[in-house]
Amino acid sequence: MNDNGCIHLSNFKAAKGTNPYRVLHAFFVSCTSYEARRYKATSCLCFICGLPGPRMHSCLHCIYFACYAGHIQDHAKAKKHFLYVDLSYGNVFCTQCQDYIYDKECIELAMNNRLKEANVPFMPWLPNTNEALALRRLRKRRLISPHTTIGLRGLQNLGSTCFMNCIVQALIHTPLLRDYFLGEKHKCRAQGGKCLVCEVSKLFQEFYSGAKTPLTLHRLLHLIWTHARHLAGYEQQDAHEFFIATLDVLHRHCMNGVEDTEKKENGRCNCIIDQIFTGGLQSDVVCTACSGVSTTIDPFWDISLDVAGPGSLQACLERFTRAEHLGSGAKIKCSKCRAYRESTKQLSLETLPIVASFHLKRFEHSSQIDRKISAFVSFPAELDMTPFMSSHRRAVDVSVDNNNAPEGMFEDNRYSLFAVVNHLGSLDAGHYTAYVRQMKGSWFKCDDHMITRASLREVLDSEGYLLFYHKTVLEYECDVS
């Protein structure tokens, strides 16, 4: 990569060092202090025409502001100063080369200043020396397109292990998880193949290797059974149970590579699993006597929904978040009344995870009968979660009284379906398959080792046992303080 600036900048640095650039950048480009911001707002005007543009620059030799509409060129001619810093992005313009030039040292200084300016600035990825070498040596780039099998892989059935295969397919096709693993973000200190996250990381490499033969997930199964002993044997495996146990083990193993000090942020785990899958479920218990509200928020990885009755996912969610009267048999001690009272309970979603997983409770075990409920439940390709949010409920309650517009109406809570796990057959003799979205509009059916094309219609018409939705728009994390 050619990021060594130009001979003119090199000569300048040899004479004066990088300090002039650093100070100029800190003051007039990145504004690392209040004072600097004030300066930039009031005095960054062209010294010749007095206007704030177009494209303000400052002379690197002397602090002299000039616009690109001829006035830096005038200054260059008059003073023989050839280097100018663009005040928006901090790039260096050389009037002798007649071009912007990029110098590694300057870029690093600029990045440091930007870090001081904002806590989490956006930084485009730049390859370091080793990575640049590797990129130069290996010129071939593998592109993922809807016409190739890259990213798809069949999974060998290890003897009734379709419950595992379908969950692995869903996880591998989780967009944000894929970005994390293909970006090799997991740094591990555990040794000797004991870490499930490392195993999943290898799995991603296998899926994108271009190989076509089915994979055998024996190491994965062993790791999960070792670390989630309660799963205890394959005979009674339920894909949902396996999914939750897998997330739990992954979550625990994510901590292998992390320093103790950075583990918790605001008392909340920030491992990749929690970042993607954890949401907050709010439960409001209202005392019928005093109307006192007791609110608790619990983390969740998925939402289990009753399927008897409603015919759509939205209807299931509507019922899930409906206020429920807890009868006289379930009195709860009200902290205000200091007595056991009847109350109503209502669930709502306080925070949404990036991946919303829904579990349709199709398997019913009771003392009388074990049965599978095959009732059709429609689910959409695009889902808006706004109506089930705690903030929305609050807003609706308020707007009834005040006729105000609901708060939080600018939140974007849209989700897109990306994986569906289906259970085929009866309770005793069943089989799991998964539909996964490889890219937008490109669906595949994963039946153990067999991967076949599928249409969105086919996916939406399937029975549905586990439904996986990905947030459509990802927001930047920011501290509101």
Binding site: G53, Y89, R142, H147, T216, H240, L247
Partner: protein, 304 residues
């Protein structure tokens, strides 16, 4: 600072007169346009700079490289084949894999049942084991209820499910021959690859293995069955005294006690079974997803 800046208003003037100036619609529109143009210019410049930087430094070329020839990976569009071109009719090609637990080659299609036995786990095997211990024991059975997995299980299963499973368990209990269950020993033996079933006597273990095992299980040898007790180290069926005595005799190098002739320990002698119930509970408390208290656990049987 240079005095040639031709600003009509000083900063403090602007602060004082801001609202007055903005009263005029024309001024407000000018200001809005000014801000918009500035933003637009900045954003555009950002794109242009990124592109220019990529081209000038060679980064774009470096990242884009050359497109790999993807003829090899084209999806096969045929009703008889899957996307890789494998026939849908053909049976699963079998292969061998090496068991991570016992390191022996196992047919991939039979790996899961193998692993279940190899690890000495399984809901059934652990329950069968605790049941067997309970029924084999001459000690007062009033403790059995406390120890049984079932109680915890009922809790774990939401209190509603067990009837069907209990039947199955009983059935399995009758069907399975004890020596078949001994496969589970391999784990507790700490990787004894000796194929012999039922080798888990203190005699066949190294001092280390004995110590490890006794850290996790009660280990008292039943007079009646000559088997090791595989419950937790605080198992109420044996006294602390008994445990101390056993550890003394077993871990003392000079007096190796021939604990049992050929008696293998029950299938769940692997340490896990004795602590599985507690770890299960812990997991459940930790795992966020159990949302509704009243939620039933739903698990279908999966068989192909």
């Amino acid at each position: 600072m240079n005095k040639t800046i031709s600003s009509e208003l000083s900063m403090s003037d602007l602060n004082v007169k801001f609202f007055e100036i903005m009263q005029s619609e024309a001024n407000a529109e000018d200001a809005a346009n000014f801000i918009y143009e500035n933003l637009f210019e900045d954003v555009t410049a950002g794109f242009v700079f990124e592109f220019h930087h990529g081209m000038k430094t060679g980064l774009t070329d470096l990242l884009e490289g050359e497109k790999e020839d993807d003829d090899m990976h084209k999806i096969v569009n045929s009703p008889e084949c899957d996307v890789f071109g494998f026939s849908l009719m053909k049976k699963t090609p079998d292969s061998n894999c090496s068991c991570p637990n016992c390191e022996r080659p196992v047919s991939a299609t039979r790996f899961a049942p193998h692993l279940e036995k190899c690890m000495g786990m399984g809901r059934n095997s652990s329950r069968i084991a605790s049941r067997r211990i309970a029924s084999n024991s001459r000690e007062p059975t009033s403790y059995a209820g406390l120890l049984s997995d079932d109680e915890d299980d009922a809790d774990w299963a939401g209190g509603s499910a067990p009837s069907e499973r209990r039947k199955r368990r009983l059935k399995n209990n009758n069907n399975r021959k004890p020596n078949k269950l001994h496969n589970g020993n391999r784990n507790s033996n700490g990787g004894h690859s000796a194929d012999a079933d039922g080798g888990a006597t203190y005699e066949t273990m190294t001092a280390n293995e004995k110590r490890n095992l006794l850290m996790q299980i009660c280990g008292v040898v039943s007079e009646h069955t000559k088997k090791l007790c595989t419950r937790s180290t605080r198992c109420p069926q044996h006294t602390e005294e008994q445990r101390r005595a056993l550890r003394h005799s077993v871990l003392e190098p000079s007096t190796p006690e021939g604990a049992a002739e050929e008696a293998g320990s029950p299938p769940d002698s692997s340490p896990s079974s004795s602590c599985s119930s507690s770890s299960r509970k812990r997991d459940r408390h930790r795992a966020p997803p159990k949302i509704k208290a009243k939620r039933e656990r739903l698990s279908p049987n999966i068989r192909e």
